[in-house]
Symmetry: C2
Subunit: 529 residues, 2 copies
């Protein structure tokens, strides 16, 4: 496949003679061909107009048609998996194995969404039958279901060039919902995006859907994103990235003449609470697993455990000592971009002024280009609570130990935390049973509460919640991973007293799709009448 370095405006490719930017191999610093041109104003406008035109026919497509699109995108991605993974590796420095995992994740995710479209019950159809004899007033026939919002702008994230990018969770959920997607490519992996976009556009053409169902636009700086979020035809925004970037988009979306939903998955430091029986059993093993978790993917997961609450208990000294040793013996780890590497150096420098740097990898000062040496910091609960900067996320292989005066102080510590994607407890059954109050508090602070596993794994499934109270996400009522993520891009529409033949199939008396519906308050797959 030949890479062109041009945007996708529907199935057309962008013009632009100039190469505004290049992918960079973070492991070598090498510039990767081809150069990428920024989408021009007219190209942005055309992409949005195509999406607006595609909105009605795509919304009218059946669940089975949309499922076929998702399955075909997955098949197309499978077919290019090898060059895709190689290019993503070159652009991100992430391991081939990790990127193979991401490929399996996005194709599995597309197929999971296809399966709920094929079943069809996800539209939450509700039918209140007419009660013509009711006193004092008859009840009309009321039938409602979820319908797509319209064109969605999706921003790719740098840290998962496949899983949270071009055909990632946001795109899959929006397409599943029936919303055209205008994708703003992340400039850190432009060619990876191009390969995926070709797979998507080929699937759209093969399924004879309108080309405006998907566009991908390249741009540096803020102008492209700003133009898209403010465009009157855009009806929702999905973003994964920094708190500053996410909040700026939220404010922009809220400032529009018509405010629109803006889903930003931003920052989380993922508190982890260590309980005594577990620690006493195997302090060094726990240190080993924690080290593996906060350095996984070089610590560039939004679910990295970044705050480790512990207290003096049996095994605690051995745990801390072993963790220090692991960090001190670690090798520098590759980061995704020079920008992330620079931020890591700056933020760990600032952290060292507020907390004790209790361990750092050997030869920290001589890490190769775009690599980071693991760092371990330590503070007390009192100091942590007095210094809000210590609760901020640092992307990269570092975490912060927080020594608490006693177990009872965990509840107070949890209650003072900001919103989080995850909160974790490590303990035996007895440990956990003694922490009901802590669990309840953590459930108000995080989208996911975990026992005895590290939060870095985010399963794509029906029950997953990857979101949480602000600033973890813009809106705690939604998740960006798992099949619940489709709820972000739909709204309920009620039809009153329409002739049966004019209703969406999901609401017709005969229930031709055989979906689960709430009929007069009872869930059933039966037909009516």
């Amino acid at each position: 496949m030949e890479l062109t370095g041009r945007s996708f405006i529907g199935r057309q490719r962008g013009a632009g003679e100039s190469a505004a930017f290049y992918g960079i191999n973070p492991l070598t610093g090498a510039r990767l061909e081809p150069g990428y041109a920024e989408a021009g104003d007219d190209e942005i406008e055309r992409a949005v107009q195509l999406a607006a035109q595609a909105a009605a026919p795509f919304a009218a497509a059946s669940g089975k048609q949309r499922a076929a699109l998702l399955r075909r995108i997955a098949a197309n991605l499978d077919a290019v998996a090898e060059p895709l993974v190689e290019r993503a590796h070159a652009e991100s420095g992430l391991s081939l194995q990790r990127l193979q995992g991401e490929t399996a994740r996005i194709t599995g995710q597309l197929r999971l969404f296809a399966s709920i479209l094929e079943d069809g019950s996800w539209v939450r159809a509700r039918i209140d039958t007419a009660l013509p004899d009711r006193k004092p007033m008859p009840r009309p026939a009321l039938r409602s279901l979820l319908r797509p919002l319209g064109p969605v702008v999706v921003f790719g994230a740098s840290n998962f060039p496949l899983a949270f990018s071009t055909a990632g969770g946001d795109t899959a959920a929006a397409l599943a919902a029936g919303c055209p997607v205008i994708f703003k490519a992340h400039p850190a992996h432009p060619a990876t995006g191009e390969i995926v976009a070709v797979a998507i556009q080929q699937a759209i053409a093969a399924e004879q859907l309108p080309e405006g169902v998907f566009s991908l636009l390249y741009g540096l700086g803020n102008k492209l994103g700003l133009t898209l979020v403010l465009h009157p035809a855009v009806q929702a925004v999905a973003f994964t990235g920094s708190q500053r970037g996410g909040r700026a988009l939220m404010d922009l979306a809220a400032s529009r003449p018509q405010p629109i939903p803006c889903f930003t998955e931003m920052s989380s430091v993922n508190p982890l609470f260590v309980l005594p029986e577990l620690l006493a059993a195997d302090p060094e093993g726990f240190a080993q697993n924690l080290f593996a978790s906060f350095t996984l993917g070089s610590g560039q997961f939004c679910t990295k455990p970044g705050l480790i609450f512990w207290t003096k208990m049996t095994g605690a000294e051995a745990f801390v000592a072993h963790l220090k040793k692991l960090v001190a013996n670690a090798a520098p780890l590759p980061l995704l971009t020079p920008g992330i590497a620079q931020a890591y150096t700056q933020l760990t420098g600032e952290r060292a002024k507020q907390a004790a740097r209790v361990a750092e990898a050997k030869n920290s000062g001589e890490a190769p280009f775009c690599h980071a040496a693991p760092h371990l910091y330590s503070t007390t609960l009192a100091d942590f609570q007095a210094r809000p900067a210590l609760a901020e996320e640092i992307f990269g292989p570092t975490t912060l130990l927080i020594e608490c005066p006693d177990l009872a102080s965990y509840v107070r510590a949890a209650g003072a935390l900001d919103g989080q994607l995850t909160a974790t407890l490590f303990g035996t059954e007895a440990d956990l049973a003694a922490q009901r109050e802590l669990i309840d508090v953590l459930a108000t602070k995080a989208g996911r509460v975990i026992a005895n596993a590290f939060p870095t794994g985010v399963e794509v499934s029906h029950a997953m919640v990857h979101g949480g109270p602000y600033p973890a996400a813009s809106d705690a009522r939604f998740t960006s991973v798992g099949t619940r993520a489709i709820d972000r891009f739909v709204r309920p529409v009620c039809y009153q007293s329409l002739p049966d033949a004019l209703l969406p199939a999901e609401l017709q008396d005969a229930n031709p799709l055989g979906i689960l519906r709430l009929v007069d308050g009872k869930e059933t797959r039966a037909a009516i009448g």
Copy 2:
């Protein structure tokens, strides 16, 4: 029952020697005792703190406990229905019959929410069981359900002193969800609010729930609302009222350090499209029914049909002529407040400069205090689209006829409309079958699409959607009426690998509540294992 004119801070009553304002009988202009004191800063703060303290125990209360609360509130309201309706009549000028209907509506609504709490399936529990042998990675046990957001501020509306006020849809939905409510009373019916608040607080005490589950605060001006919406402990806002007021609250909620969901149900002009076969059959009967609908409740429904699209067709002349006659022969109608009466005079005066006033009630200039004479306006589609002010809502007994060049232009007319609560078509089955495209467009513009009924009736049921794209509501993804309204005040929380006994009952293996759950992608009420 003795009225005190004081706020409710939980079960305590506010201090304040002064009577800052009084209810006014709009039919007579008479001042109604007692005077009402504004909540002081410390009272506002105490009410929010009580709500924050109540949040955890109220969230932990079982569905059955919360259902018992709602049923007891309903019973308490039934017990005071007679004085309640009388006082609401005195404060609003609405008929006793209408207010009896509102009372039945709110008690029925509380009981409907109680019924879904008693079933329990509304939390949308999802369980993905562990797959320890899955390759390449095991799947952990993931279980999620909907949990309450925390304290909600509810603003009462003036036009439904019972149905959209103190124990109205927003309060009922928030309490059902498990969120404490801080209610900002509408100053147009302060004593009605006081009677209802007593019923609520007595129910809270009888059910031994924390008093902070409900407070009611009185205030004039914007300060009370502003303080509440900006309070860090407040987690959501619900409002029914003007577009200006609603947008101000949306902007305020979005400007907070932690932005929060803000549900504002604002303005809608409820387009209605007249189709030929129906009109030909009975033009005068249709005119009669339309007149009854836009003058119902003196035209103070947010679902009043305010834009009537028609075209020259058999019966059209007779329809328009009869409608003019009905308006010309109408008597002035009482409005809710002097402020609404003043706005009606001003806005109909402005409208007369932009559209033809084709009929007005006799003696329009001599309407009694706080009454409005019905007015009928007429314009062409071209002029309507050239003059955006014609698409604005006017509260009161008036509507606007829009003559379209032909039937085909209806789709274009609909496509240019702002978001609406409702959109209505009047036609025979054949008429409607010819308008599939129009129906599809209207489904993107409105929360509810209606055939052959006037939109003013808003059923409280499972399938109802009372909401719509902005500016009808702040967020088209939610409804403020019907059991779907509970979705506004909850967020999903996922528990990973927690011991069964520590999970919420809804997620435990045995399914002790017998609720419908999605287990590994299949809906079932069965236990696991």
